[in-house]
């Protein structure tokens, strides 16, 4: 691997873990979140602060994830009070609240953010390998979860909360679980990013980032682990491959979101599996 590719791997990994995390909340459990960048940010800031305080790398990573997970639980509590549209706006507000607090706080470095984060000590190659491993673990977790009774119950909640409750599924606990796991993964991604960039600023966790994460999930095919992974890799790489697109990255995100929703809400993976029903379709069924 040359240096450029090695430098891309953590970035792809961060996006993949973010998208897979949101997929657990939105795809598996059916709860929309327009504020996922906040948990990404919480993980990054938590890891950065701990790293700056001298905690070792192998400890800050899980602790960053845990911190984000706990905050996810709090937002999950809000999700118990509000549904669908209300929840979308509430989570969007959570994102802005996070930014508003971070920007004004000296602890988090205000507008300038935090700098001077120590290196992971693994070197670029080693770090890329670690990230690949974490992505693989997240994919495995997603696939296992979907096959387990947890995924089964999630699917029922996503389709009809009331009916799920009538069948003895304790829906609030499940929603909290989804928000905890999904947000913890976002936090993990944040911690990974923090050691990758070695400095973080509030802008890295803006509303646009929440939308980009959603775009990866939706374009890949909401609910489908491989589709979402594909969506994350594709949307991270596209602007890199087509350098000219860098300028229009945001425009393309918007366009892609709009077009996929308008013409193929099941996502590109969903569309592919319809176009190639024999092979991919069977694969999907086998997984479901």
């Amino acid at each position: 691997m040359n240096g450029y590719l090695v430098s891309l791997v953590p970035l792809i990994g961060v996006n993949a873990i973010l998208a897979l995390g949101l997929n657990i909340i939105a795809g598996f459990c059916g709860q929309i979140s327009l504020g996922q960048a906040a948990f990404y940010g919480i993980g990054a800031y938590a890891a950065a602060l701990m790293a700056l305080a001298g905690l070792p790398f192998w400890l800050t990573l899980p602790l960053g994830a845990l911190t984000a997970g706990v905050f996810g639980l709090v937002v999950g509590l809000v999700s118990l009070r509000v549904r669908e549209d209300f929840l979308a706006i509430t989570t969007m507000a959570v994102g802005f609240l996070f930014l508003g607090l971070v920007r004004k706080s000296a602890l988090f470095g205000g507008e300038v953010g935090l700098t001077g984060i120590p290196p992971s000590g693994l070197g670029p190659q080693g770090y890329a390998l670690l990230v690949v491993g974490l992505v693989a673990a997240t994919v495995a977790l997603s696939i296992y979860m979907k096959a387990s009774w947890l995924g089964f119950a999630f699917a029922s909640i996503a389709e009809d909360e009331g009916a799920a409750r009538a069948l003895a599924v304790p829906v609030p606990h499940y929603k909290l679980a989804a928000f905890f796991i999904g947000s913890a993964l976002s936090g993990l991604a944040g911690a990974i990013y923090c050691y990758y960039a070695r400095f973080i600023t509030p802008d890295t966790f803006s509303f646009l980032v929440s939308v980009s994460i959603l775009a990866m999930v939706v374009i890949g095919g909401i609910g489908s682990t491989w589709g979402v992974l594909l969506g994350a890799v594709a949307l991270t790489l596209l602007p890199e491959i087509f350098r000219f697109a860098g300028e229009y990255r945001q425009f393309l995100f918007g366009l892609a979101l709009l077009m996929v929703m308008r013409f193929s809400p099941a996502g590109l993976f969903g569309m592919l599996s319809r176009l190639v029903p024999a092979r991919l379709g069977n694969l999907r069924k086998a997984r479901a």
């Binding site: 979308a88 959570v94 609240l97 979101l257 929703m261 308008r262």
Partner: protein, 289 residues
């Protein structure tokens, strides 16, 4: 006096939020779509306003031009994006709307540049009037008066005209439309037209106040007005109006007293989360029209 001044400032911003929130409420009330891209219509209004004013030198042309552009954009958005998606789960039009907002915002950036565009001349920027000992910017006053006037005109239209009555009935019960001789589709177009006109007007007013239009000017307004209509109890116009003015005033005081802890734009989120925890249905119970 200082407190009064803060309250007045708050009401002025609140009136602008009300213009935006009312459009969103109209659209949500009828279609159950959270029209996030409403912010792009607002930004379009601002750009068209600035461009027309610069080209013609007349604000009297700029206002109608901006409103017209906003109305056309609103109708096109309904026709091309929402109408085909209405029978889908709510997530689908919502995400499409987010996509549309991102796309249009970036389009403004690509076409008109990162910095936005300013009025060639805007003689009102520094003008103030003194009312009852309070010194208020002419443009701020114009924003308040413009908002209140157009919202009142709208209220009068709904309350007293026959079309207004039909429209009100349809909001409560779409099937009623036919008995008034209008189709549900017509009422939907009308809602988008009215809502977008308000957004266009708000756009020009804000552009005048800031003296320029910029690509991202809609995002924050969008999130705040969405928070407001959720606060107000989705679909309730009264709730949206109260929520708008309330948020304006809270922000105004909050900017002074909370400035150490959160920035102005996060106050709406704080209000939203605090109120939802206690009243998940928002401030007002849902009132049909």
């Amino acid at each position: 006096m200082y407190y009064v001044e803060l309250a007045v400032q708050g009401l002025i911003y609140g009136s602008m939020y009300a213009l935006m929130a009312l459009g969103l409420t109209l659209i949500y009330g009828l279609l159950r779509v959270l029209h996030i891209a409403h912010a792009a219509v607002f930004t379009l209004g601002a750009y068209v306003g600035v461009i027309t004013a610069n080209a013609t030198g007349s604000l009297w042309i700029a206002f109608p031009a901006a409103i017209l552009a906003a109305v056309l954009a609103g109708i096109a958005i309904y026709r091309l994006v929402y109408a085909p998606l209405l029978d889908r789960p709510p997530l689908v039009p919502l995400i499409a709307s987010v996509g549309l907002l991102i796309l249009l915002e970036d389009l403004f950036r690509i076409v008109f540049g990162n910095q936005g565009i300013a009025f060639n001349e805007n003689p009102y920027v520094y003008m103030t009037v003194t009312i009852g000992g309070l010194s208020i910017g002419v443009l701020q006053l114009a924003m308040f008066v413009g908002s209140v006037a157009s919202l009142s005109a709208f209220a009068a239209f709904v309350a007293f005209s026959r079309t207004g009555a039909a429209w009100r009935a349809t909001l409560g019960n779409p099937q009623m439309a036919t008995s008034f001789g209008v189709s549900v589709a017509q009422v939907r177009y009308l809602n988008f037209a009215i809502g977008s006109a308000f957004a266009g007007l708000a756009g020009v007013l804000i552009a005048l106040l800031n003296n320029y239009a910029e690509p991202g000017m809609g995002t924050i307004v969008s999130y705040k007005t969405l928070a407001i209509i959720v606060l107000g109890g989705l679909g309730s116009m009264r709730g949206a109006l109260i929520g708008s003015l309330l948020l304006g005033v809270i922000e105004s005081y909050g900017t002074v007293y909370l400035s150490g802890g959160v920035d102005r734009d996060a106050i709406a989120a704080l209000c939203l989360i605090a109120i939802l925890m206690f009243r998940p249905e928002g401030l007002a119970k849902r009132i049909a029209a």
